[in-house]
């Protein structure tokens, strides 16, 4: 089952309910309970409500054909609960202050030192890793939760998709920082351009995808998890604003990473089943990798293409404007001349409409056509590869049941 971005968004909200200090504490959030998000159903494997430092975490696995499929696990961490002073302290001490291991809680009796939420987040993750050693684990969270999720993903070399998270680069180990140099594509931290709170801490991890939601700068609205909207397939909707072209390109790259990891899993599954790759299995993997690469290149190219198209179109508009300006200036000088005489005078000086507008326009229009053709050939290549894969899966029933 494919876990969608909408699912991560929903799970990042559900985990807040694990907090017993939450006004409407909900006993439904415990191990064994089932949650449905859209078309996908999940079973809760484990929850932790740490009353010493305020951390809440939840691990879930998808339910496929009525059975829990622990080959995929999602660990979600909760963000700040404003009625929990411990969360506010974690924000100050760990997120802003950069204290990785411990948190000092002042009280009338003195100061108590407890494990930081980053530490207990990692402990929770380690317990899950131990219990499900062959699972593909992805972390998620919102706000403080996403800060913890990014931290845990980087330290364990897992994938992450989350929202509005401050960046934890400052508290990462040297090993995690090293891994991130080549693998930051595995982490996706969706950030709202107007969200001052979540955008704190820079982007040392490289996880950030900054999106202009055209929402202004009110941090209370822009920090909300509910501001994110998703399409029919559960993918995040990013508007076609000029300011989002960069985001679209980065997402195309990150999605390619995710596809390749997915393929590695399928490959492992296929290898473990028979001890080697059959001819069809090998073709399937090669084609699927090719498909992943072409599709993401196509997406990235389309984002680039529309910027380029806009530049060309602006150039054409600019050329026309230059010609019109020139004409009006000429008119204002030679008020006794007819229109033809004005144009002849301009031509004598080397400025004809053909040179200034028509020929550049023809030049740009040809470039525009070439670019569009390139886009179309990517699309048809992707289509051909997909058709090839489908045909293969149809004719090879064994392969189909392995991937199923």
């Amino acid at each position: 089952m494919s876990i969608t971005e909408k699912d991560f968004n929903g799970l990042s909200n559900e985990v807040y309910l694990v907090d017993e200090k939450h006004d409407k504490y909900n006993p439904d959030i415990k191990a064994g309970e089932k949650i449905k998000i859209g078309k996908n159903e999940y079973e809760i494997l484990k929850v932790e409500d740490n009353t010493t430092n305020g951390m809440q975490a939840m691990a879930v696995a998808p339910i496929v054909n009525g059975k829990v499929d622990t080959s995929q696990v999602v660990i979600a961490y909760a963000g700040t609960n404003f009625s929990d002073n411990l969360d506010k302290l974690a924000d100050t001490s760990t997120v802003i202050g950069g204290n990785k291991d411990a948190m000092s809680i002042p009280g009338w009796w003195g100061v108590k030192t407890v494990d930081s939420q980053a530490l207990t987040a990692q402990q929770f993750a380690a317990e899950i890793k131990k219990k499900y050693p062959s699972a593909d684990i992805t972390t998620t969270g919102h706000s403080l939760g996403q800060f913890l999720a990014l931290y845990v993903a980087a330290e364990n070399q897992w994938s992450n998709i989350g929202f509005n998270g401050p960046d934890p680069y400052k508290i990462l180990s040297e090993d995690a920082k090293k891994w991130l140099k080549d693998n930051s594509g595995r982490l996706t931290n969706y950030r709202n351009k107007g969200d001052m709170i979540g955008n704190f801490g820079g982007n040392g991890t490289g996880a950030e995808v900054l999106i202009d939601m055209a929402m202004g700068n009110n941090p209370l609205d822009c920090h909300q998890l509910s501001a994110w909207k998703f399409d029919e397939s559960g993918n995040l909707i990013i508007s076609d604003l000029e300011t989002n072209k960069e985001a679209q390109r980065i997402i195309a790259e990150k999605r390619m990473y995710a596809r390749i990891i997915g393929l590695t899993l399928i490959k492992d599954k296929l290898l473990s089943s028979g001890g080697g790759l059959s001819a069809n299995e090998a073709i399937f993997l090669d084609d699927s990798q090719a498909l992943a690469a072409v599709e993401s290149a196509s997406e990235a190219m389309k984002a680039g293409l529309s910027s380029v198209l806009k530049i060309y179109q602006d150039a054409i508009t600019e050329a026309e404007k230059v010609w019109q300006d020139g004409l009006s200036k000429a008119r204002s000088i030679g008020t006794d001349l007819s229109e033809n005489e004005i144009e002849a005078a301009l031509a004598a000086g080397g400025a004809t409409k053909a040179d200034i507008v028509d020929s550049p326009t023809a030049f740009y229009e040809e470039k525009i056509n070439k670019a569009k053709q390139l886009g179309e050939s990517f699309d048809s290549l992707a289509k051909d590869i997909k058709a090839g894969i489908d045909k293969l899966v149809q004719s090879d029933k064994e392969l189909a049941s392995q991937i199923g």
């Binding site: 909200n13 309910l17 409407k24 949650i35 449905k36 859209g38």
Partner: protein, 129 residues
Amino acid sequence: MKKKRWITAFVVFLVVVGIGVGGKMYMENKKAKEIHEAEKLSVPVLKNTFEGIKSVEFKATDYNQMTGFYTMVVEMTDKKDQSVQFHFSYIIGEEEIGAYSVKDEDIQKEGQTTTTVHVIYSDKVEEEL
């Protein structure tokens, strides 16, 4: 003279406390209204998610300021008079509910309810929707 000063001070004190209490009551009233409104808006969405609903009783609703989601705990009764209590998440304006806990698939059957549903809000007001 001294006594008069005390009385004035006391009256001022009462007025200030009155405004404070009144203010708090105003905010709580406003919050209760918003919750009632959110519950009301979620009913058509519930009807578009589950079939065979006879009645819905809102037990508790909370708004998470951080996430912008409402979490509502309801007791839903179907046309066979079977009841199930579960929670779901809802964002105002959305046409689908966010997530819901699966407690009894026999009662929580996905589909549409086109008939009128008896609604009891968390503030005890009742309505047919």
